[in-house]
Subunit: 450 residues, 2 copies
């Protein structure tokens, strides 16, 4: 029996490793187009910030370990160009230009996601960078030194853009961010987004939302990002406008695509074709709040999906119930966290959303060194269900979101969450945790509006 | 209609305030034996540490506000000495020595808890302190300055003892802790307790567990706590061996007592007598993990209980489902958190407990500045249910416990919790949150042992 995995990062290597532990005699071949496997992509911005550290620090487990300890047939520099579910084989070309064909009994598509490169004249100019693979990370890091970069223009303002702004400023590099839409972090409640905006301003990041980059030009000293009403200079332009699922191979093979163009899968990670699984950033997931399919290219989802695929490939019966859309990032001293759905999404999905935004504190009344924490919470007027929450603050916004994520997994009522017995001690928050205060306010509003 | 409240802190003032908001015409009398109302008792150790701050900073709302804004009849210095549920009246004596009798339609016992004073010869000596009321807090704080205290002996090693050790060391005061039982924090998993022990040692706190204080003696320079094999000197001895519910009034009135001698109540905060409610540190609560009554004298439980009593007194129908035993404290740089029950408790309550202890990190693989986080988790082999968790670590142990508390409220399976979609970003933890790692390990052990 042969299990072939396309892609050697989070989902792919989780699957290959667990499959080996479940079945010591299974032949496992991993085809990875780059020369990196099993690395912490999310750690790249932080590594880039630190000239003392090698990018290879982000490798969780080296190829050698997978080969020697787990007996995986790990083929690096092997790019798959086609999947043939009828013949149960994949074909491709390796880094030496040689074609290869590999048959499979079970196949896992763990092809990940790619940065979206905007169709911008000059986007291919030397010094214009994207950041997704470890190789691209090395490129950015080397370029910063080689080009003695003093100013970076970041196109896009998502979480990777924010993290990069943070780490570049820590290196003393000037940062300007630019994007066409005027709203910062459009999925975030406006009051919370305003906090993020202030944090960027405080750290002297130029924030140019509502300016559409039209081209990138080379200048005497570097590069210039040109908008109709604005020109931003830098020695580097970083394109961070988002990612898209690498589902082309699947689509070409006639495998169904689902949410946002990701590979359609069920809870067992099976695609529309027998014996073909998909997991990680290339695949969709079921959103437990809406019950619909959604695309959340995040590390934990990828690791889990890979493991579930491996269980099923090796004769188990594993199911991943789904996700609730929990995510967090840090931008300077602020923690920005979310789980569940926004009021806007809720209305689209047929809920009758009610939402509140409250400001509380990170420490108890009269405890020194307290910081504001803003909580936005969304409930459904009709069913009373909690639908989502967002938080911005210091000292614990990141971890506080998890209590709400667990509540969403349990389809809790807002009233039920408001009664939960959460931890209290003065150094860690007020008696009523900010999430409880928000839940009580939301409940009041839901009842009043009824 | 008259609502009488005995006790003017968390439960009492929460009840009185909400009752006023629910019923503007209700006569509300609060009888408080001290001259302090509505203060953050949990903040006392931290306030004591700070000579710049007044103890009155801990007052959340002043008596004047309750009187003027809410129209509460707040009688300070009024000690109730008897409750007569037959006559529906309470009697007592005020600070001027005058007797009083007050009739009620509804009565709330919010009498709190008192420090246990061990029967120790010399416990009444000047310089021997306890810490529960704000008045006692002022005493401790003043004594530290007045006596130019350089060494403190703390009898007891619970969380208040630990918090006091922390804040006294921060003031440069030498601290020795002593208690009869040899196990530090007996409710805490031994591996986690060992971390706490190391943290105390690292901060040069003398930890003498397994030494029974026999008497306190006055010496030339201060006080001496004498054990059979040990003598500890200091200018102050702090007795912090625990608290007990102030349920004597209720007992004398023939009102039923419950868990650990606290006033027995149902979910609506009603006692065994009609129209008599109890809430806060003097009352028991239902533990949602065991389904039995338990006593958890904690601030959030008190605030909630007071509100529920007020809803019911004013014609509403509120019920407090119960608690899951969540608590947290800080000792130096460590956060110590718990929720649910221990493996020992679980066995007593008829569960078939399985537990694991894992060590993880506060930040992602290769992220700088990461600290160990230890997670202990308990599940029931038979039902698969999660029963409890404990955590010791820095940077987020306190807030991480809340996700598990919410899981316990929902009677989640360990397998269910292991699948929750928790937040991940490198500055905040590993891809698999320490709580998820523990849940996976626990699940494995539960399945293997089955």
């Amino acid at each position: 029996m042969r299990f072939v995995v396309i892609g050697g990062d989070a989902a792919g290597m989780s699957a290959a490793s667990l499959a080996r532990r479940r079945d010591s005699r299974l032949e496992i071949i991993v085809l990875e187009q780059t020369f990196d496997v099993s690395y912490s992509a999310c750690g790249m911005p932080y590594n880039i910030a630190d000239p003392e550290r090698s990018m290879d620090d982000l490798v969780v487990r080296e190829a050698k370990v997978f080969r020697d300890k787990l007996g995986l047939d790990l083929r690096l520099g092997h790019r798959v160009t086609a999947v043939d579910p009828g013949q149960k084989q994949v074909t491709g070309v390796n880094v030496s230009g040689e074609s290869f064909t590999v048959g499979y009994d079970s196949l896992l598509l763990a092809t990940g996601a790619s940065p979206v490169v905007p169709e911008l004249p000059g986007a291919e100019t030397d010094g214009v960078q994207v950041l997704k693979s470890l190789e691209q990370g090395r490129d950015v890091k080397e370029s910063l030194i080689k080009r003695a970069v003093k100013r970076v223009v970041i196109v896009g303002m998502g979480y990777i853009a924010m993290e990069m702004a943070d780490v570049l400023r820590a290196r003393g590099i000037a940062v300007d961010m630019v994007k066409p839409r005027s709203r910062l972090l459009p999925w975030l409640d406006e009051q919370l987004a305003a906090e993020v905006y202030q944090e960027l301003e405080k750290n002297r990041v130029g924030v140019y939302a509502g300016h559409e980059p039209k081209r990138i030009e080379r200048t005497a000293s570097g590069l210039k990002c040109v908008c109709p009403d604005l020109e931003l200079d830098g020695e580097m332009v970083l394109l961070a406008v988002g990612v898209k699922p690498n589902s082309e191979l699947a689509a070409a093979a006639g495998i169904e695509l689902g949410a946002e163009g990701a590979v359609a899968i069920d809870g067992s990670m099976r695609t529309s074709h027998p014996d073909v699984y998909a997991a990680g950033d290339c695949a969709e997931a079921r959103h437990l709040v809406t019950g619909r399919k959604a695309w959340f290219p995040l590390a934990l989802v990828a690791n889990r999906g890979g493991r579930v695929a491996a269980e099923n490939v090796t004769g188990g019966k594993a199911v991943l119930e789904g996700i609730v859309g929990t995510a967090v990032f840090k931008v300077f001293d602020l923690e920005v966290a979310r789980t569940g759905i926004t009021a806007g999404d809720a209305a689209e999905y047929g809920f009758d959303p009610v939402s509140v935004t409250i400001t509380s504190q990170s420490k108890a009344h009269a405890h020194p060194g307290s910081w504001p924490i803003l909580v936005h919470m969304v409930g459904d007027r009709l069913s009373g269900r909690l639908l989502g929450a967002q938080m911005v603050g210091r000292e614990g916004a990141a971890h506080r979101i998890n209590a709400l994520a667990v509540a969403l997994h349990n389809k809790m009522q807002v009233s039920g969450f408001a009664e939960t017995d959460l931890a209290y001690a003065p150094p860690f928050g007020p008696v009523w945790d900010p999430t409880l205060i928000a839940a009580r306010q939301l409940l009041k509003k839901m009842q009043k509006d009824k």
